[in-house]
């Protein structure tokens, strides 16, 4: 190896290394910031749902995959949303359980965290029936209906996949709960709830 080629070896290797590292991080950023499929939520509270809607106050439905690690951040943000709400909405946290899994498959750490939230109803959704009724396709999908059953908010409450922290969806949801009238949508980040497209 000549002196010149040896002199440029380390900078060249460093450049390649930096390029590969940048690409890897770019892939991660892209993955985490790519929104999941947005819900095609009914504008009115679905009549066929088994979930109970509250009278005189908003109802919040949070649909999640019990084993989606990204949903941990969504649950953290949901806790934040409920804490910042002046009007406490009736809250359902619905964990889907696809067919073919054993009993208590859905009883994960997410389930336990959800159960620990005060005033929240945690429900198992066998085969994702309720999720389909609400048109949800991505874990962390959050829907808010007003006291009259009109859809106020549909979207996710994290800034990116699995990332905690204040974000547009969370702020919009808090605003919708507190105002009772503002309608908003936000991107949802999380695992697909179904193996197929709705």
């Amino acid at each position: 190896m000549t002196f010149t080629s040896r002199r440029f070896l380390i900078p060249a290797l460093a450049a390649v290394w930096l390029g590969l590292a940048g690409t890897g991080l770019w892939v991660l950023w892209a993955y985490e910031n790519r929104p999941g499929t947005a819900a095609t939520a009914p504008q009115q509270w679905p009549t066929d749902t088994q979930l109970a809607r509250a009278d005189g106050r908003p109802t919040l439905v949070f649909l999640a995959h019990p084993r989606c690690t990204c949903t941990r951040a969504s649950l953290t943000e949901l806790t934040e949303v409920l804490a910042r709400s002046t009007t406490r909405p009736k809250t359902h946290i619905v964990f889907i359980r696809p067919d073919g899994f054993e009993r208590n498959w859905e009883k994960t750490d997410l389930w336990k965290r959800a159960m620990a939230l005060p005033g929240v109803t945690v429900t198992r959704d066998d085969a994702g029936v309720e999720a389909e009724r609400f048109g949800a396709a991505t874990s962390g999908q959050t829907l808010l209906y007003d006291a009259a059953g009109n859809l106020l908010f549909s979207g996710g409450i994290t800034g990116s996949r699995g990332h905690e922290g204040e974000n547009a969806g969370e702020l919009a949801l808090v605003n919708a709960i507190n105002s009772g009238t503002t309608r908003a949508r936000a991107s949802v980040f999380g695992c697909p709830l179904f193996s197929w497209s709705l």
Binding site: L25, W29, F101, W196
Partner: protein
């Protein structure tokens, strides 16, 4: 401290200080490189384990696959760790190595943020990493690290502002706020690094100066040792020469004195023989020469370490009587009065009687010689010391005395109080030097107090018992 501040020496010390400083720097860089190599490996393993624990699988309905975070921790973490760790191990201390490590460490922070879901706590990785990078004591390393953080914020702030600022739309200059906090830490770290470097430079300068001083001292010590060896060799040669020459001189000289005495006796038997006076002059000159040779012989034996002490039990009073008998004619010759006081506590001592007698006799003879129409006093007492008892001989006279300058040199060999003294009073100038050496040899001491025209007082302290008989030299006096 040996002061040698010539420009050439200063230049050498300064050059050595620079060399030492560079060595210290390199040592720190290498050590920190190795620390980071370990840290990189640790972060890689920790990242993989964390991903496997927190997000092992990504789910799509009923199906699952390995989560992207696991692959990212494994491959991207590996990529970020292996290259800098490899450089740290293969090219430790190189500037490019620590720059790559700085960039890698900050990118590792970005990866950690992804793996932990952007938790605010993970941002401390950035600040901790900057502090760790300051271990290099090279402020320049903080620059690429800070640039990576700033670029990350600029890029993500532009593409996905929510992921970094938590809002959908952020000011295009918001990255400056975040980078500003990083620079805030950088400032303190740089100040710390600067101070540390200054201390390191001071240490290098002190070490260089110390090294130079040690080298100079070593050369001096070597020179001194050589000179001492030469001097010892010369002294031994001189002593050997003097001893043998004195011996060779004494034999014919004794013959001359003896024959001149015989001739004098014969001349005295022949009335009117004019040669008697001349023969007496020959005897006097011969005796003086013999005295001188004996003195030189004694001194050379002492210097050569060939004079031994032969302690024995003897009565001090008896020894003094012998001395007084010997010196009495000389005392009376100058019309002096001799007084002897011996304390009751003075009985016997265990010492070399010959040398003790020689000491006292020499001092009393001197006192009698340098005093005219005066008094010579011998006082002997016993004094108690810390470890043992001493016999103290004080020989005082009311003679010519000495000035302080002359008193200081009185025990040096070949030194008399005055150049005219030898002419006026006779003597070889060796007597007191020999007395002083004998006192030291017998583990004793001698001192003098004298005033011009008032007289002198010599004080000799000799131990009543030697400390250990084995302490005395064992050289064979007869062999000399």
């Amino acid at each position: 401290m040996i002061a040698d501040s010539s420009p050439a020496t200063d230049h050498v010390v300064a050059a050595r200080a620079v060399e030492l400083f560079k060595d210290y720097e390199h040592e720190i860089h290498v050590r920190t490189d190795r620390l980071f190599a370990g840290l990189m490996a640790l972060q890689w393993v920790a990242g993989v384990l964390f991903a496997l624990w927190v997000s092992p699988l990504a789910w799509t309905g009923a199906t699952s696959r390995t989560h992207l975070h696991v692959w990212a921790a494994l491959f991207l973490g590996g990529l970020l760790s292996v290259f800098p760790a490899g450089l740290a191990l293969l090219r430790p201390g190189e500037r490019s190595t620590r720059y790559v490590i700085a960039v890698a460490q900050m990118l590792m922070g970005a990866l950690a943020l992804h793996l932990t879901g952007g938790r605010i706590e993970t941002h401390f990785h950035v600040f901790g990493s900057l502090a760790f990078l300051a271990f290099y004591r090279d402020w320049r390393v903080l620059v690429p690290a800070t640039v990576v953080v700033a670029l990350d914020h600029v890029l993500r702030g532009f593409l996905w502002p929510q992921s970094v600022y938590g809002v959908i739309v952020a000011s295009p200059w918001r990255w400056l706020e975040h980078a500003g906090w990083v620079v805030f830490e950088d400032v303190f770290l740089i100040v710390g690094v600067y101070r540390s470097i200054r201390e390191m430079r001071d240490r290098a300068e002190r070490t260089a100066a110390l090294e130079h001083e040690l080298r100079t001292r070593a050369v001096l010590v070597e020179d001194l040792q050589k000179a001492r060896k030469l001097a010892e060799t010369a002294t031994r040669a001189r002593s050997d020469f003097l001893a043998s020459m004195s011996h060779e001189l004494r034999t014919p000289l004794n013959a001359i004195i003896l024959y001149s005495e015989l001739l004098e006796e014969e001349a005295l038997d022949r009335p009117g023989d004019q040669s008697v006076e001349d023969l007496r002059k020959i005897q006097s000159a011969g005796k003086h020469l013999l005295e001188l040779i004996n003195g030189i012989l004694d001194l050379s034996k002492i210097e050569a370490g060939k004079m031994s002490v032969m302690p024995e039990e003897f009565d001090v009073r008896s020894m003094l009587d012998e001395v007084v008998d010997t010196v009495r004619p000389l005392v009376h010759k100058n019309s002096n009065t001799l007084t002897v006081h011996v304390a009751d506590s003075v009985t016997t001592v265990h010492a070399d009687i010959t040398k003790t007698r020689q000491i006292v006799l020499n001092l009393v003879s001197n006192a009698a010689k340098f005093t005219r129409l005066g008094t010579v006093t011998i006082e002997v007492t016993r004094s108690v010391g810390d470890a043992r008892d001493y016999i103290e001989f004080q020989i005082a006279d009311t003679g010519v005395g000495m000035t302080p300058e002359r008193t200081r040199r009185i025990f040096d060999p070949f030194t008399q109080a005055d150049v005219t003294t030898a002419r006026k009073y006779g003597g070889t100038g060796l007597g007191l030097a020999i007395v002083s050496s004998l006192c030291q040899l017998m583990d004793g001491s001698i001192s003098v107090d004298s005033r011009p025209d008032e007289g002198s007082r010599f004080t000799v302290l000799l131990p009543v018992q030697p400390l250990q008989p084995a302490d005395t030299p064992v050289a064979d006096e007869a062999a000399a």
